[in-house]
Amino acid sequence: MKTHTLSVLVENQAGVLARVSSLFSRRGYNIEALSVGPTQNSEISRITISVNVEGHALDQVIQQLDKLVNVIDIIELPASTSHQVELILVRVAVANGASDQKKIESVLEKHGAHVVESTATSLTIQQTAKPAEIEALISELTPFGIMELTQSGVVAMGRTITS
């Protein structure tokens, strides 16, 4: 199944997130990731949802979401025509001292990630990138020992120029 990214504009009111997430749960759709935040208009929030569904079910998700009175608009954002960004914080073990630290730093340099906290035994790393790049970074860091990982859902915006 393919992951689709839906950008859902909602009225900024109490309970809206519950309405959206309860709809997914009662209709049996699985949310892979979800992020909510303000937009340029204080009365409107944006919920970005990554959902794992096929064509027909995707259409149903969109139609059912559209029935929620507080949902103003829903746009599907294909990766090819949108900017999609995820944020992670990851704490990696530095077990073998300087040699490990060097290897980790070269991985970070390659990915353009940076260290936000450094101790004798761990590095805490922050990265903001496309989901696929985040995935690649995590897999390269895994051999060193990931102690803790926190990952946002995707936030996305359609491209100004789509062709």
Partner: protein, 579 residues
Amino acid sequence: MGEEMTGAQSLIRSLENAGVDVMFGIPGGAILPAYDPIYDSKIRHILVRHEQGAGHAATGYAQATGRVGTCIATSGPGATNLVTPIADAQMDSVPMVAITGQVPSSAIGTDAFQEADIRGITMPITKHNYLVTRAVDIPRAIAEAYHIAASGRPGAVLVDVAKDALQEKVNYEWPKNIDLPGYRDHSQPVPQSIRDAAALIAQSVRPVLYVGGGVIKANAHKELRALAELVGAPVVTTLMARGAFPDSHQLHVGMPGMHGSVAAVTSLQKADLLITLGARFDDRVTGKLSTFAPGAKVIHADIDPAEIGKNRHADVPVIGDVRLTMAQLLPAVKAEFAKSQPDLTPWWKQVEGWRTTYPVGYDVPSDGSLSPQYVIERLGKISDPDTIYTAGVGQHQMWASQFISYEKPRTWLNSGGLGTMGYAVPAAMGAKVGAPDTTVWAIDGDGCFQMTNQELVTCAINNIPIKVALINNESLGMVRQWQTLFYNQRYSNTDLHSKRVPDFAKLADAMGCIGLRCERPEDVDKTIEAAMAITDQPVVVDFNVFRDAMVWPMVAAGTSNDDIMIARELAPDWDSQEL
């Protein structure tokens, strides 16, 4: 500046401005401030005996009148008792608004006395809902609630109002307009979809009009009749659409679905085109979905875009109000027919064969006991065609749908989607309040009746003279039927022992109604006539019927409509039919 008043007064003023003329409810702590202005209001408040009764009464009122039904309850248990009727109304797309009191806003979230998060609880079972914590927000919430409940695909809306919002002083202002940026109007069909639908109709040689409850909601029975007569196709009316098209009309071939007529079920199966009008391909209609109407293209006309393709792919979706859709289809189909009109004679020959060979019927019990189908059939024959019938859920509901001829919309009210036992009595009460000059019969089972009969007290005290035909087979009959057919006649917990306990006639009497009993076929007509003669008091007739009667035809749950059985272990003799 508007007139200064309390939030409670503004709530009642808002309900008046929304056009409410009656509401069903029970007061309690959190809603109490609102009950003070109710005392002075022109709105009739009917004090029910259980909030579930208030909810179903609001639904019955809405189903009978086409207006939004209103119920009102207090916080906590008052509100949670409304959950079943709210879910029921939402499933059957009935316009209903539920008003509930909530604990003061400062106490919300503290597990206060009689606190329940009714907005959270009803989120999945309402079209929309509100929690109002400021008096100033009350009029807008009420205006929006009634607009949302009634427009588009109708549904249930709940407005939960915190007690302090009811007590607060406010300047009353009824909103001049309704601004719901996320609530779209889908009533106008796209012209291209109408043209595409008309073109498909003109190519079809085996069309069927598959008519759902949306046609009644849209007040589209006249347009339906015109379209059916123009196309000349067989018409099937679902459980929610009984009465949308006259049963006596020669184009009508019955109800489709699990207990539908052979002609209705089989015409859908063999059709080359389903002209679907305000119906939603419910599993009780389609049977096993992958084998439903395998050779048919589908025109799906519905006001809810999410219904299109939900269960069955639509070749031509027509999103719009089904009345406007049919009104526009009429000239479009006429234009197509002017070019070429298909000959439906061979199709009708087949349909007529199924209809005449397999009419819906029943066996008379050999022991001389009373046949439930006979009781219902006689009730329908003796009553005039304006009579409104409500039903509970189960065998009696299916028989009431099968053996009464419905000629007019809004004469058959039942719980189709949720299948709520106990719907009949309170819904009949609501219908009678909405249509006081019309005879209202609740056809109920002894199981259902024992869930909500307390509302007969409400009826007796408030001069709401409904009639109840109790089809008493001393059991949870439909469940018992499944146990007979699928569980080796192991009747686990379906025997209600209700032939004499309770004594329904005495119970009716105790509740201020007239109680009658009928046990012999020869007494049926005169008992019904005796009940008809009582017009100033509710009447309950306890019909003691044959308990082993079963509902036929039947498509067993999860099987194909092709496997319809006309009696136990008896399939139609397809070989002798031209298929």
